[in-house]
Symmetry: C2
Subunit: 209 residues, 2 copies
DNA sequence: GTATGTGAAGTTATTCACAGCG
DNA sequence: CGCTGTGAATAACTTCACATAC
């Protein structure tokens, strides 16, 4: 059932998910491809095509059941199960992530944060306590953890990544360095907030409408 | 100068920019499309094609001059000039952004933060002082500001965006809400960190290598 | 009437391969 | 000889349009 899914398609699936979850909070029970498309700023055919890659989730003349589609998307994205996540580095960004409430409904549990600085170790942030980097391997071994968020300073990023990979991490969300070297099967997702601003300056400068 | 530049292309240009800036800190002066491609995980032809859309920046047999290419990319992305940016909402995420050092070299100056909470007003974060939302329009009028970062709670997002647009903001980086309504010519860039994690769970679950 | 799912068409993006320059 | 820039070929994505189901 797995084949070649466009990268952009997976990003859209996440966008659909976010909008669908918003619709549940509004009590909306059914949604059409046109309706969903309008929110995400893509065509309705695109929405149907994206979903049709994985199955037939809608009913002609009716649309999609919101709850049902959320569940199907979870099946596709791999989030029917919950995922434990660790945060490496306990700076301001980690602080923000650990206090971010929306992870839970998207099936992510930030179970631990780590830092090399002894003064930060033991501090509570949100519901989690900062632990020593020395205990990284032990904590990962004691919990099923396959994802990590990296927020350490750039020159510490590769070492941290190596330890995470050695401890069995399969996916890294990387805020730290321009690039991480990882073995095949370990996925890295780069986040660059300045890049997001540059997208805007590009559009504004070339006065796209 | 404007045409139809792929969205994905602009994202790659930002990635090239980041890597090039990293190379300057290493003292590297020249770089080939192959070298650059390796970092970004695209093909060398893709790099050359992306750049060729805008001009001829390299020299056959030699490659690209790092400093020169940075400047050309700035020209394309609109960051030869610096951009003032305001942050709306002074929660943990704003705190992280205001302390994030890399914005400056990418040509962004976070000149102000705003919050409705009187207890936060007056607090310093990094180099900037939190100001009252009441003063939003005055501050924007007193400075050339065309970009904003939105980190308020979801139900306050649209109102805040409306005020920003009315005050002349042309681009919004939106961490706050699933969707913002804006008039044509005002660009919104959605950021959804849970979505980034979902990209990883998708890859890990469907064991892509 | 309304909305899905999907071949087929259309469009856009990526890769190939090589001429030509340093 | 190495590396760029680019026409041509390929592959990938998106949109159209309609048969089908509710």
């Amino acid at each position: 059932m797995d084949s070649h899914i466009p990268d952009a398609c997976v990003r859209r699936l996440s966008a659909y998910m976010r909008q669908l979850q918003h619709l549940t909070t509004l009590g909306v029970e059914r949604v059409s491809s046109h309706h969903l498309a309008e929110y995400i700023k893509v065509g309705a055919a695109q929405v149907r095509r994206d979903l049709a890659l994985f199955g037939q989730f809608g009913r002609p003349g009716v649309g999609y059941k919101v709850e049902g589609l959320i569940d199907e998307l979870r099946g596709i994205l791999g989030t029917r199960r919950r995922w434990n996540v660790v945060v490496v580095g306990a700076g301001p960004l980690s602080n923000a992530l650990l206090r971010y409430p929306a992870f839970s409904s998207r099936r992510f549990d930030l179970i631990a944060a780590f830092d090399v600085n002894p003064r930060k170790v033991g501090r509570r942030i949100g519901k989690t306590v900062v632990q020593s980097m020395d205990d990284l391997e032990a904590v990962l071994a004691a919990n099923q953890v396959h994802l990590a968020i990296l927020t350490v300073p750039p020159d510490a990023a590769q070492d941290a990544a190596d330890r995470l990979v050695a401890a069995g991490i399969r996916g890294i969300l990387n805020f730290a360095a321009p690039r991480l070297e990882t073995p095949p099967g370990v996925h890295v997702n780069q986040v660059d907030i300045a890049a997001h601003l540059e997208q805007l300056t590009f559009l504004v400068t070339n006065n796209h409408c």
